[in-house]
Amino acid sequence: MIVAVELGLIYAIMALGVYLTFRILNFPDLTVDGSFTTGAAVASIMIINGFSPVVSTIAAFGAGLVAGWITGILHTKGKINGLLAGILTMIALYSINLRIMGRANLPLLREETLITPLRDAGLLGTAMAVVVFSLFALAVKFVIDWFLHTDVGLAMQATGDNEEMIRSFGVSTDRMKILGLALSNGLVGLCGALIAQYQGFADIGMGIGLILAGLASVIIGQAIFGSRLIIIASLAVVLGSVLYRVVIQLALQAGLNPNDMKLISAVLVVTALVLPQWKFFKRIGGLANMRKSLTGAGAKG
């Protein structure tokens, strides 16, 4: 179970990225499935080629930034529908990721990675590792909280909330969307790099369906822990990610096959989207709001 918590805390960085696009920008970004693997591929190939794990992980963040930036350009300058722009980048990235990796799977077992010190000290799977991963996830959370309260951050929030208004205050909403998508996918790439190092390999298929894990974390977290203030909403995303991994772990222990996990993720997200439509659940405000922003129904209300 501690492993599930560890994974949840690492994946929380990806979920925070998804939070930026889905909740803050109100933009359903599917680039995530591709940029996650891109981050893993870039970090792995660099580590294998002798770069330090820190540099490699930062490079993975940079690769994610570029991926998000491309989706942003496609959507704003190319005037391509947001969903489609994300899908286009995601699919193109599949080929690019294969190019980066050279083959479908890159093992990192004998390499020195960011996780090696923890593993060598025998701390993985202990409370100590949970503390370390928590600190990292919370650090990312606090950076996002800080950013969203700067002048640029406020403009980004408003871009997702009332586009025409913030344009009337002189903000290029195109630029805000591009920036938000880049940051979001940068975090996703960073997360991919960490997961590759944690599990000891990068795989071409590791990002498939990941967007659902991100969404489920955001939805579940905010439904349970609330989203009234940014600092609470982002904490809820981190907790949601942990909870999601724990649920998956429980499902596995109950005898479900790892291959069923995508189906379970999808069912979880569908449930979270449909439940708030029932009268009983309408009273649970957080869930209803989540649904609004995800389906776009009355999101501006």
């Binding site: 640029v152 406020l154 009332n162 205050f169």
Partner: protein
């Protein structure tokens, strides 16, 4: 201050849906001039404002603000010159954000935004002072989300946000139309005060003829994409709602006499 010269605007040109919205509009506002705009539905009033704000581009003609040719600038690029209040009280503020955050965004109008904190103590004090002028008690609710405010409160806040950075031009498009009479009176009183205080060059669209006559220093009437009446301070004072209605009747009946044709 504002010079709109020879502006034409046609929507869906060359299709069956072709709509001529503006035909050769020429309009100049001197600094501090407060012009009210009336006219029937579809006359082109909003289009004039949208062309000024950059939401729409004219087909031909130019728009100049304080001597700068802004015709080719996008709306956000000319926002530093322009304050706007929209008809819909929901449109001028960001509902999910707090009053102070909304005001901060307006405060930074047209400036380069950086990574400094959006709301600072100094700004907060300034906002509090400004909000007091509304006399709605909002100065004590800086951290409330704007979505919780009533339509009238939001519209008053929008007006403040549009004006406290002293834009060169203030555009108001039926900004009291969605409010109940009492709130509309409040917002229209605040409008007169704030325009006076900052000496703002203002274009205000309204369907309320009494309001159009009472507020401002000049009145124009539009019909089918043209300005068909343009009266200044002096004449405006002598004009009654009846006179304006009469003017409308003349146009509606299609009986355009020579005088209106020439204008």
């Amino acid at each position: 201050m504002l010079d709109i010269t020879n502006v034409h605007k046609t929507f869906f040109a060359g299709t069956v849906n072709e709509r001529v919205a503006l035909k050769e509009i020429n309009l100049s506002l001197t600094p501090g001039e407060f012009v009210t705009v009336i006219g029937s539905n579809g006359a082109g009033k909003s289009t004039v404002l949208n062309i000024t704000s950059g939401k729409l581009r004219p087909d031909t003609g130019t728009v100049r603000i304080d001597g700068n040719d802004v015709t080719k600038l996008a709306d956000h690029q000319r926002a530093k010159f322009i304050g706007r209040v929209f008809q819909d009280p929901m449109a001028g503020t960001s509902p999910d954000m707090t009053i102070e955050q909304n005001m901060s965004m307006a405060y930074e109008r047209g400036k380069t935004r950086g990574l400094g904190p959006g709301v600072t103590k100094k700004k907060r004090e300034f906002f509090q002072e400004e909000l007091k002028s509304l006399e709605l008690g909002l100065e004590n609710r800086l951290k409330a989300k704007v979505g919780l405010l009533s339509g009238g409160q939001r519209q008053a806040l929008s007006l403040l946000m549009a004006t406290f950075s002293s834009p060169k031009i203030l555009l108001l498009d039926e900004h009291t139309a969605a409010l109940d009479p009492q709130r509309a009176d409040l917002v229209s009183r605040l409008t007169a005060e704030v325009v006076e205080r900052h000496q703002l060059t203002t274009l205000m669209v309204t369907h309320n003829m009494e309001q159009a006559l009472r507020l401002g220093s000049r009145l124009i009437m539009m019909h089918e994409g043209r300005i068909i009446l343009d009266i200044g301070q002096e004449q405006k004072r002598k004009t009654t709602v009846q006179d304006l209605l009469h003017e409308f009747e003349k146009i509606k009946g299609g009986a355009l006499d020579d005088r209106t044709m020439l204008q």
